[in-house]
């Protein structure tokens, strides 16, 4: 296989990381919502933790993007 083609396929495969990030973000917001419905008085206090979890989960997907960019441009 051509090296160029293999690079493209590898970069595309690295985008699979986004599936995990999607599951993670969904879990965080879903669980926050169900927790907030059960105990609305505690919801506001946990909002910073929600944002923290969202940002951490989103970043893992972006690591996949960094891998894709390294494959495409650094080699």
């Amino acid at each position: 296989m051509e090296l160029e083609a293999a690079k493209m396929i590898g970069a595309g495969l690295a985008a699979i990381a986004l599936a995990g990030a999607g599951v993670g973000i969904g879990l965080i917001f879903g669980n926050y919502l169900s927790g907030a419905m059960r105990n609305p008085s505690a919801a506001a206090k946990q909002f910073p933790n929600l944002l923290l979890g969202f940002a951490l989960a989103e970043a893992t997907g972006l690591f996949g993007l960094v891998v894709a960019l390294i494959i495409l441009f650094a080699f």
Partner: protein, 244 residues
Amino acid sequence: MASNPMHQFEVYRIGPEIKLGTVNLSFTNPSMFMLISAITILLLLFLGTRKKLAIPSKMQFITESSYAFIAKMINDTAGSGARPFFPFIFTLFMFVLFCNMIGMLPYSFTVTSHIIVTFVLAAFIFIAVTIIGFIKHGIKYLQLFVPKGVPVVLLPLIIVIEIISYLSRPVSLSVRLFANMMAGHTMLKVFGGFVISLGLLGGWLPLGFSVALTGLEILVAFLQAYVFAILTCIYLNDALNLHH
């Protein structure tokens, strides 16, 4: 392709070339935008605290609420022992926030979308936290790598994992901010390119997406500055309050 979405991250020289031996110290567009962010922060804080009114003006309100926001965050995550580090974390938060936000203006440059900028910030935090931990606890700081209540059989494995996770902190901290900013700005430019290539008839859909993404990016710009600051507080908490 109409234009390269990576073109926005190009670093070029402004003004004369300054060389110190083999090191290139020229004034570039990242340096200019760092200077702009620093001046904006200084102006905001200076004008906000010039007239101290009991009923604050808008400027004074922004200044005071940003102060209170960071002070509360440090108190909640790192305890009252981290109070002396308030100026450092406040500076860090404001610098990252303003670099991200000024990068959202069209035709400007996002300083934090370059990994070297974020890595220097993260490496500084990592080294500082390690030194603070050793100053405060001496050699006992190494207890950080030995979690409580772990069976002795598992300890050799756990210690190795803990050390690797400790050493990967600066990498994950810097790559998180850099990847978020770079991915967001690339995505905005790719959708902008769709508007041009689809023309007057089909270009409205990507234009709408572009507007929505700009809103999301402003949220991400704030969120990443917040996460950067709060993770610094969490690392500081590890160094100051060993095993609580």
